[in-house]
């Protein structure tokens, strides 16, 4: 791996190596820029470092102190943030979905949220680029939305949990399909195909899972990028000429400074605004890139409610990647809804510890009740949504007075659902209950409170007054400061975000290349 001196300014220093930062590091390096990408977490080698053990693998999560409040405080940690080279994609569930085209203009076309400054047709091309890079295994034809090219790899075999989703959809007369996912259904290079052990959200020890760690970062390194792990960036330095000059980071027990001609923040929707706010100077007292006052605002998670039941036959839902079948019916069907936005739902496959935790936290089971319910584990079947939540300025990340192990102020995360969020959740729970009843599941119960994914807090837009960055992820205030991760989403849609984050990163890299050629950097 190539290494750069701290004193020599690199073209780009990137903070965070997840879906946004890892992808961007790769594409920028491939375009010939010098790149140092830092991550607060370690650089794991899955074949050697990952154990088939849920507890051990909590080492992948971002579990630093954070304060949560609001009417619906978020549960932070494993379910929504990673701390490792590769970011949250190291333990993500690999579901790789495209946005519904109308969502890029949801304000003008659908009457809610905010418009994106991006055109869906251009995004369609970048989605294809990412799908090919990750060798997504997906269905031959996708039932919803405009035509997309065939997925590079074929869909995986459905497990019994996915079959239950399929049967339910057929009974209710809606379409379903195999979930496009980022794990190999055939060998690729030295990587083995998926072995269906279902450890995906604890990190995949076979390298079948395609992620920033496995797919983009090796490419980035081959193209000359440096990955600096265990490097926590505490502050971005900005000078008096409205330019960023580099980053202060903590590594090997001391603070250091890396000079850079451009700084990219890609720490995900909590750490990105936190870093920008923590980097306040006399010139930018409200934090960097924050002339709109929107940094930290419009945080959006996605609703992640579930309906669970018990089947007479064995299901063993944990065999294979957790979400092998999906229906996006309620993302594309607008009739019969009393809410804005959409949701998809997928089959589920929780590992035993997660399942015991769910039974404890959602149903309060403990002791003999928990034990007897765990005996049903092999018969459990579940459906879970990824639902759109609306952007609200009151849902936000601010700085608390407390500090963390580096002496940095920790984030306070405020979250409350709005009525629309609640209506969407109610609709989904009723519908999924019907779907489980249709396959003769018994003991059906609802998990009412769960969320996933983090987006917003540095939204992109066409107007410096109402957005933090432009369509190229470039901040309006400091022209060599960029934000390229889930934070830039103006809305979240009803699908998992990583494919869109990566597509945006690929687009941003291409735009930077074009602008560099024109001398516009």
């Amino acid at each position: 791996m190539r290494q750069y001196r701290q004193s020599e300014p690199v073209d780009f220093v990137i903070v965070g190596t997840g879906a946004g930062g890892g992808t961007l590091a790769c594409r920028l390096a491939e375009h010939g820029f010098s790149v140092v990408a830092m991550d607060a977490g370690p650089y794991f080698r899955p074949l050697e470092d990952f154990a088939s053990d849920e507890s051990e693998q909590t080492k992948l999560y971002w579990t630093d102190d954070r304060i949560v409040d609001g009417a619906n405080p978020l549960q932070m940690g494993g379910n929504n943030s990673g701390k490792a080279v590769g970011g949250s994609t190291v333990h993500f569930a690999m579901v790789s979905l495209r946005f519904r085209p109308e969502w890029f203009k949801s304000r003008s076309l659908l009457g809610y949220g905010a418009d994106w400054p991006l055109d869906w047709r251009e995004m369609w091309r970048y989605y294809s680029e990412v799908e090919d890079a990750l060798k997504i295994a997906g269905p031959i034809t996708y039932p919803w939305g405009p035509h997309r090219p065939r997925y590079p790899y074929r869909a995986h075999e459905l497990n019994a949990a996915a079959r239950a989703l399929a049967d339910g959809c057929e009974a209710l007369g809606i379409q379903w399909t195999e979930t496009p996912i980022a794990t190999l259904s055939a060998p690729r290079g030295l990587a083995h195909p998926c072995v269906y052990r279902g450890f995906c959200t604890s990190g995949c020890s076979t390298n079948a899972k395609q992620s920033a760690l496995v797919t983009w970062i090796p490419r980035a390194i081959a193209a000359g990028a440096e990955i600096r792990d265990l490097a926590m960036v505490g502050r971005i330095e900005a000078d008096n000429s409205n330019l960023a000059t580099g980053v202060h980071y903590h590594r090997d027990g001391q603070w250091r400074f890396q000079r850079a001609r451009n700084v990219v923040v890609a720490g995900y929707a909590i750490e990105t605004p936190r870093l920008l706010l923590n980097s306040a100077t006399d010139r930018f007292p409200a934090g960097l890139a924050n002339s709109s006052g929107l940094v930290g605002k419009n945080l959006m998670v996605q609703s992640n409610q579930a309906v669970w039941g018990t089947m007479e036959r064995e299901v063993r839902s944990y065999k294979g990647p957790p979400s092998l079948a999906i229906t996006e019916h309620w993302n594309y069907e607008d009739k019969g809804k009393d809410f804005f936005g959409g949701y998809c739902y997928m089959s589920q496959g929780p590992l035993p510890q997660l399942w015991a935790n769910t039974l404890l936290s959602a149903r309060g089971l403990w002791g003999p009740h928990l034990i007897s319910e765990m005996e049903n584990y092999n018969h459990v079947v579940g459906l879970k949504i990824v639902g759109e939540m609306l952007p609200q300025e009151a849902n936000r990340v601010t700085l608390a007075d407390e500090t963390d192990q580096y002496g940095l102020r920790i984030p306070r995360i405020t979250y409350s659902w709005c009525d629309n969020d609640r209506r969407l959740i109610d609709h989904s729970l009723a519908f999924m209950t019907e779907a489980l009843e249709a396959v003769d599941a018994t003991d059906i119960w609802r998990q009412n409170d769960d969320t996933c994914h983090l987006n917003g807090t540095a939204r992109m837009g066409n107007d410096p007054l109402t957005s933090v960055v432009n369509a190229d992820c470039r901040s309006w205030d400091i022209r060599n400061l960029w934000i390229c991760d889930g934070s830039v989403f103006p809305t979240v849609g009803g699908v998992n975000p990583s494919l869109t984050i990566q597509a945006i990163a690929c687009r941003t890299a291409d735009r930077i290349k074009t602008m560099a050629r024109r001398g516009e950097l």
């Binding site: 791996m1 060798k135 269905p139 031959i140 590079p152 790899y153 074929r154 869909a155 075999e157 459905l158 079959r163 399929a166 049967d167 057929e170 195999e178 259904s185 055939a186 060998p187 690729r188 290079g189 030295l190 083995h192 195909p193 072995v195 076979t206 079948a208 090796p218 490419r219 390194i221 081959a222």
Partner: protein, 333 residues
């Protein structure tokens, strides 16, 4: 740092060269044999000539030679089915007792085929005949079973179920083995001087046509499963290109009428025999690409590409060769 072991153009070229070389080696051996018989002989009807030579040497008429070759082809197919259904149905835990059937039947078919290959007599054998018919029937019933298995799943005849449900084409292999064996008996019992025929069709060309259809079907099956593997290795294209060409060549042979020699088609069939046998090697490599490789054989043999499947191409190509041989030795067939 970028780790890739993508198959290079050189590797592909080497592989193809090896295939071509070994198949022409096969071809040379038989050409040499033919040349040995032919030296100094005036041009005359091949059948008469062969009969004389072979008759003098072994007293085996051309029909029996052809029948033996067909037995060998049927045996090769049966062996492939025995191993393949053994592995696959074991993987399916023999959930349904009927899943033992193809094992028993293909083992019996293999047995009678070995018997037939060694048998120089001119008469059909009742055991062989019955077994071959039984094999053909099993193939038909098995096909129905597999269709039913796929149809009853959510999504019906969707790609998902075609990829991962019971393979629709697999039982056809035992059907073909049975048919080839049955034809072999008809050829064998043809009296000297009479053109061997099957259901009133000239036997050589009828077999060529049947083999042609078999090759197409088998290529279809390989195509489906290699598509499932996204043709991730370029060699996976071989069984979907070479056999259909072979099928076309055989079909043309069947249509071409009597009295011709088809050296190129014979060469192509040998290429297919080589490909079918080499396929086991390729699939063995495929097994090694799974987690744990061959160290974890007990899982990966079930999980990876089926080792016994490719030889069914070899079996069919042998049948094609037998048909071509019969046409050469018996210009009217």
């Amino acid at each position: 740092m970028r780790r890739s072991n993508g198959v290079t153009a050189t590797q592909i070229a080497l592989g193809l060269a090896a295939l071509a070389a070994s198949s022409s080696l096969l071809d040379k051996r038989s050409l040499a044999r033919a040349r040995k018989y032919r030296t100094g002989e005036p041009k005359q009807a091949k059948a008469v000539y062969d009969n004389r030579i072979l008759g003098g040497k072994l007293d085996v008429p051309a029909t029996v030679t052809a029948a033996k070759r067909l037995n060998r082809a049927a045996g090769m197919l049966a062996l492939s089915v025995l191993a393949d259904s053994g592995v696959e149905h074991y993987r399916g835990s023999f959930k349904n007792k009927a899943m033992f059937t193809p094992l028993i039947v293909s083992a019996a078919t293999l047995g009678v085929s070995v018997h037939g290959t060694a048998d120089r007599r001119k008469a059909a054998h009742i055991m062989r005949d019955t077994t071959y018919l039984l094999a053909a029937t099993t193939g038909l019933i098995g096909t129905c079973f597999h269709f039913y298995n796929v149809a009853k799943k959510a999504g019906g005849f969707s790609w998902q179920n075609l990829f991962y449900g019971a393979p629709l084409g697999a039982p056809m292999a035992i059907l073909l083995s049975g048919l080839i064996g049955f034809c072999s008996e008809r050829v064998r019992e043809t009296p000297r001087g009479i053109t061997p025929s099957i259901f009133d069709l000239p036997a050589g060309r009828a077999m060529a046509a049947l083999t042609s259809v078999g090759l197409l079907g088998t290529a279809g099956e390989a195509g489906l499963l290699h598509f499932r593997g996204a043709f991730h290795n370029p060699f996976m294209l071989l069984p979907v290109t070479l056999p259909p060409l072979g099928a076309a060549l055989l079909a043309r042979t069947a249509a071409a009428g009597p009295g011709r020699r088809h050296p190129f088609v014979r060469w192509w069939m040998r290429l297919l025999v080589t490909m079918g046998l080499a396929g086991v090697g390729f699939h063995a490599y495929g097994v090694s690409r799974n987690m744990g490789g061959w160290r974890n054989w007990s899982q990966n043999v079930l999980n990876g590409p089926p080792l016994p499947a490719p030889p069914s191409f070899a079996g069919l190509a042998l049948a094609g060769l037998a048909a071509l041989g019969l046409m050469r030795d018996h210009p009217d067939a």
